[in-house]
C-alpha cells in the first residue's frame, strides 16, 4: 500500500475515533451539568428544559434548618478528615518509600483495603463497632471512618509524587548539615507539595461524597448532607436536590480551581 494511501486511511480512522471519543466525553461530563439549569426551574417537579426560572429551590435549601445543619456537618467532617488524613497519609507514603520490600508489600495490601472492600460491609461493621464505643452519630466517629477511607488516596497520590522526586536532594541537604526531619521539611516537602495538595483534595472529596458509611454512622443532629440527600431521593423527587447538587458541584470545582491556580502562581514565582 502506498504511503500516502496509508496516511489517508489513518486520517479517516482517526476522524471516526475522534467522533467516538468526543461522544464519550460528552456522555461523561454533560449529565452532571444538567442539574445546574434544573436548579433554577420554577416548577415543582423535574422538568427539562425548565419552563420558568426561579430561585425557589435555593431558598428552600438555604432556608431549611435541617439542610443547613447537614451541610455544616458535611463540611466540618470533610475539613477535619482532610487535615487529619493528609499528614497521616503523606508521612505514611514517605515512610513506605524507605521500608524494606517485604514490609512495604504487606502494608500496601492494608492500604488498598478501604478501596477494594465493598463499602456496605465496612459501614455495617463500623456501625456495630461504634455502637459498642458510643461513637455512632458523633462527629468524631464519622471523621475517623472517613479518615480511613481517605488515607489510601492520599498515600497513593503522594507515593506517585515521590516516585518522580530526586531523593539525592535530601542526601545533599543532609550532607550539608540538615538532619533527616529538617531535610524532609525544607527540601522534600516544598517539592512534593502538589501531590500532597492533590491528596488533600481527594481526601476532602472522599469525605464529602461518602454516602454509605454516612448512612449508618451519621444521623440525628450529625447527619451528613449525603445521608439526607439519599433518603430524600429515595422517597420523593424534590427539586431542592438540584439546588444542593449545584452547590456541591460549585464546591468541588472551586476547590480544584483554587489548587490549580495556587500551583500555577507558585510555579511562576519559581521561574522568576
Amino acid at each position: 500500500m502506498a504511503a500516502i494511501e496509508m496516511v489517508g486511511k489513518r486520517k479517516n480512522n482517526n476522524l471516526w475515533l475522534g467522533v467516538v471519543g468526543v461522544c464519550v466525553l460528552f456522555i461523561l461530563s454533560l449529565p452532571t451539568l444538567i442539574v445546574i439549569p434544573m436548579s433554577f426551574s420554577g416548577a415543582s417537579y423535574l422538568e427539562f428544559p425548565p419552563e420558568s426560572w426561579s430561585f425557589r429551590w435555593y431558598e428552600s435549601y438555604f432556608g431549611s434548618t435541617a439542610w443547613m445543619r447537614a451541610t455544616r456537618t458535611s463540611l466540618l467532617v470533610a475539613f477535619l478528615t482532610t487535615i487529619i488524613a493528609t499528614p497521616l497519609g503523606s508521612l505514611a507514603a514517605y515512610g513506605l518509600t524507605f521500608t524494606s520490600a517485604r514490609v512495604r508489600n504487606a502494608s500496601q495490601v492494608l492500604v488498598v483495603l478501604p478501596i477494594l472492600v465493598p463499602v456496605i460491609l465496612i459501614a455495617i461493621g463500623v456501625f456495630h463497632l461504634y455502637a459498642k464505643l458510643g461513637l455512632n452519630y458523633t462527629i468524631t466517629g464519622i471523621v475517623i471512618a472517613h479518615t480511613a477511607l481517605a488515607v489510601p488516596f492520599v498515600i497513593i497520590t503522594v507515593l506517585a509524587g515521590l516516585k518522580n522526586y530526586d531523593f539525592n536532594q535530601e542526601l545533599a541537604a543532609r550532607s550539608l548539615g540538615a538532619s533527616r526531619p529538617r531535610a524532609l521539611l525544607t527540601i522534600t516537602l516544598p517539592q512534593v507539595k502538589f501531590s500532597i495538595q492533590t491528596g488533600a483534595l481527594l481526601a476532602f472529596m472522599t469525605s464529602l461524597d461518602d454516602v454509605v458509611i454516612a448512612m449508618f454512622v451519621s444521623g440525628g443532629k450529625n447527619a451528613t448532607i449525603t445521608r439526607r440527600m439519599f433518603n430524600t431521593l429515595r422517597d420523593q423527587v424534590d427539586p431542592t436536590i438540584a439546588a444542593i447538587s449545584t452547590c456541591l458541584i460549585f464546591v468541588s470545582i472551586s476547590a480544584l480551581v483554587t489548587v490549580y491556580i495556587f500551583n500555577r502562581n507558585q510555579k511562576n514565582k519559581d521561574q522568576l
Binding site: 471519543g21 434544573m38 492494608l110 463497632l129 497513593i156 470545582i253
Partner: protein
C-alpha cells in the same frame, strides 16, 4: 591491602551498626503506622468481625447453616445472579466506551489530552448522588431523552429508561467509566509509538501492529481498569437503589435489607463473605495473571 586477623567472629562495630540500621527501619515504619492502625480499626477489624458472624448459627454454635441457607434460597441465588449480570454488563460497556476514548486521548498531543482529561475527571469530582440524580432527570418518563425523542417523533410512548435494569446500568457505567479510563490511559500513554512503527517496518499491517503490539502493551492498564470496575460494581449500593426503582437488588442492598429488615445477621454476614470472596478472587486472578499491583504502586 592490609590483612587483619579477626579474632572475633563478627567484625568491628558490626553489632552497633546493625542496631542503628534496625532503629532506622523502625523509625520509618512508625511513620506509616498511624495510617495502618486507622485502617485496621475502621476496615479490617469490623469487616473481619462481620464476616466471622457467618460461621455461627442462630444458637451460637459454629456451623455452615448460614451458607447452606443462602445457597439454597431462591432469593439469594437470584441476588448473586443479578449482581454478576449487572457487573459484567457494566464492565462490557465501560470497555466498549472507554477503550476507544483512551486510545484516542493517548494519541493526542500532551496538552490537548490534558485538557480533555478534565472532562473525564469532572464526574469524579462530583458527588455520586448528584450524578445519579442527574440521570434520573435525564432518563425518567418525562425526562430529557423521552421528551426529545417524542418531540422528534421517533417514539410515541415514553421509554422506560429509569427505575429498572437499564437505568441502573447506565448510571453505573457513568460512575465507573473514569475508574476504567484512568489506569488504561496511564498505560497507553507510556507506550512508545516507535514500537508500532517498528512492527510495521518489519512487515506487519497497521491493524496487525495495533493488535499485536499496542493492545498487548496496554493490557496491564486494561486489566487494572477491568478489575477496578468489576470489583466496585460487585459491591455497589447507591446507584441500583436510586435508579433501580426497587426492582433491582444487588448484593450490597440485599445485605443491608437482610440486617435492617430481618435482623438476620448470620445470612447477611454470609452474603458479605461471598461478596468479599468474589471481589478478592477477581483481584487475585488478575494479579497472578498480569501483575497489576505494579501499576498502582511501586
Amino acid at each position: 591491602m592490609k590483612i587483619v586477623a579477626n579474632t572475633e567472629l563478627e567484625g568491628i562495630n558490626s553489632k552497633a551498626l546493625a542496631k542503628g540500621r534496625r532503629k532506622e527501619g523502625r523509625l520509618f515504619f512508625s511513620l506509616t503506622l498511624p495510617s495502618l492502625i486507622t485502617i485496621m480499626i475502621v476496615v479490617f477489624i469490623p469487616v473481619f468481625w462481620l464476616s466471622s458472624l457467618s460461621f455461627f448459627d442462630r444458637v451460637g454454635d459454629l456451623s455452615w447453616a448460614n451458607y447452606d441457607r443462602i445457597f439454597q434460597s431462591q432469593l439469594y441465588i437470584k441476588t448473586f445472579i443479578v449482581t454478576l449480570k449487572i457487573s459484567f454488563i457494566t464492565l462490557f460497556f465501560c470497555i466498549l466506551l472507554g477503550y476507544p476514548l483512551c486510545y484516542w486521548l493517548s494519541q493526542l498531543p500532551d496538552r490537548i489530552a490534558g485538557i480533555l482529561m478534565v472532562f473525564v475527571l469532572l464526574p469524579f469530582w462530583t458527588s455520586i448522588l448528584v450524578r445519579t440524580y442527574a440521570w434520573l432527570v435525564i432518563l425518567q418518563r418525562n425526562g430529557i431523552i423521552n421528551d426529545t425523542l417524542i418531540s422528534i417523533g421517533w417514539i410515541d410512548e415514553p421509554l422506560q429508561l429509569a427505575h429498572n435494569l437499564t437505568g441502573t446500568v447506565i448510571g453505573m457505567v457513568h460512575i465507573l467509566l473514569p475508574f476504567f479510563i484512568l489506569p488504561l490511559f496511564a498505560s497507553m500513554r507510556s507506550i512508545d509509538t516507535n514500537f508500532i512503527r517498528a512492527a510495521i517496518s518489519l512487515g506487519s499491517t497497521p491493524r496487525g501492529a495495533f493488535w499485536r503490539i499496542f493492545f498487548i502493551m496496554s493490557l496491564p492498564g486494561f486489566f487494572a481498569g477491568t478489575v477496578l470496575v468489576f470489583v466496585l460494581a460487585l459491591g455497589t449500593y447507591v446507584t441500583p437503589v436510586l435508579l433501580g426503582g426497587g426492582k433491582i437488588q444487588m448484593l450490597a442492598q440485599r445485605i443491608d435489607s437482610t440486617i435492617m429488615l430481618y435482623s438476620n445477621w448470620g445470612a447477611a454476614s454470609a452474603l458479605g463473605v461471598v461478596l468479599l470472596i468474589l471481589a478478592f478472587a477477581t483481584i487475585w486472578i488478575f494479579n497472578r495473571a498480569f501483575g497489576i499491583d505494579k501499576l498502582f504502586m511501586r
